[in-house]
């Protein structure tokens, strides 16, 4: 299995902070693997996701590999408010016609696909953000507490969609969830960060 991410004794310290957020972290993620990040608030879970996504650079240590195609569900949906649901999806995947339709139907968004993103509820926006992350056919899927607004039934639909595509395409999954009942791969390996 090819290596998607490899950090070697990496540290990350934000400007103005007295202590590093990540210290001496060595981590390798291969294709198809799953990883759950655990730890108290402020332990660096989101920072590690941002490092994997290429949004942060380590202050020391080396990154040997970074994933090429990343699908990320941020804690916020981060949709373009004036664009429709399909517009937001086509922005990242212009040729995802049938696949996009299937995913929208699977997550119960068929009726709102022409609606502007700013008119969606939080839960609808989070589902659109998940579809966007899957449509890019990612090497790695990063989930940062992205499903807080989903009711149990919709959460199960979202989880099933992720599992189906994970099994089909073999992307890696790295997830953060404070609710153990809402993990996509609950029995997968866990990396505990912080004290």
């Amino acid at each position: 299995m090819s290596v998607l991410f490899h950090a070697d004794r990496v540290a990350l310290q934000y400007r103005g902070r007295s202590a590093p957020t990540l210290l001496d972290l060595t981590l390798m993620i291969r294709q198809g693997e799953t990883l759950r990040l655990d730890g108290p608030s402020g332990a660096g879970k989101t920072s590690l996701l941002r490092l994997i996504a290429g949004l942060e650079r380590p202050t020391s240590g080396r990154l040997h590999h970074l994933p090429q195609r990343i699908g990320m569900c941020f804690a916020e949906a981060r949709l373009i408010p004036q664009l429709s649901v399909t517009g937001n999806l086509q922005l990242v995947a212009p040729r995802a016609g049938a696949m996009m339709e299937d995913m929208l139907q699977a997550l119960g968004l068929g009726d709102v696909q022409g609606s502007p993103a700013q008119s969606l509820s939080k839960g609808q926006a989070q589902r659109v953000a998940l579809i966007r992350a899957l449509l890019v056919r990612p090497d790695i899927l990063l989930l940062d507490e992205g499903f807080g607004g989903l009711d149990p039934r919709t959460w199960q639909l979202a989880r099933d969609l992720i599992r189906k595509h994970h099994n089909q395409t073999g992307f890696a999954v790295v997830e953060i969830s404070h609710d153990p009942a809402r993990l996509v791969v609950p029995d997968g390996p866990c990396l505990r960060l912080g004290p």
Partner: protein, 254 residues
Amino acid sequence: MQHAIPPMMRPMIRMAAFGAGLAGLVALWAFAAQQNLPAILPGPLAVARALLDLVQDAAFWRDALLPSLGRAAAGLGLAKALGAPLGLVGWHLPLVSACLAPARLILMGVPAPVLAILCILWFDGGPITIVLCVCALLLPVFQIAVAEGLSAIDPQLAEMARVFRLPLRRCLRWIIWPALWTALGPALRVAMANALRVSLLTELLSGTPGLGAEVQAAQSWLQTDRLFALVLVILALIGLIEAALSAIAGRRRP
């Protein structure tokens, strides 16, 4: 009171109120004109006749109106072409912004007539002087507008674009341009009207053929009705520019 009026009627009522205000102003003007000599205050009819003559005069369009508009547009274009990259660099590198601040403060602080006189003294006083004067006054407006617009880019959307590797064109269209337009739109609206005002002022002071020089000639020959007609032309031009920009801004609003 406003709540009692159906929403569909409100624009019509506003138009009617505007018309009533205008009619009152013209009536007041006609009354004041009757109490004064035509050389001091011509009546609305005399000004309307002068306006008709002016509009029908091909030489006025060819030698005054179009050259003035061309200089204003050239000065505006130059200011935008220089100010926008400076705003971009200043936004990206705060040190460059700090370095440019003294020049920007001088250009923004010096009154337009003083800058026009200095430009006339330093350059030849011809059309190029007018273009440079407009450019010097409007360059800081564009520099600040671009820097402010870029600062308004939603950092969360910018990160999303990085993660999903959005092509630059789509980023520009959906993330950068809407933020930029929030500052650039109002700046453009102010700058376009000011470009015309400053080019007229510089023409008036330098005597370069154009709308400004026409105003000066009308004043020198006590052709007050023509002077008023020229003022109406200038007001109409500024009104048209502002209406066009309002329409564009309205279409771009999400």
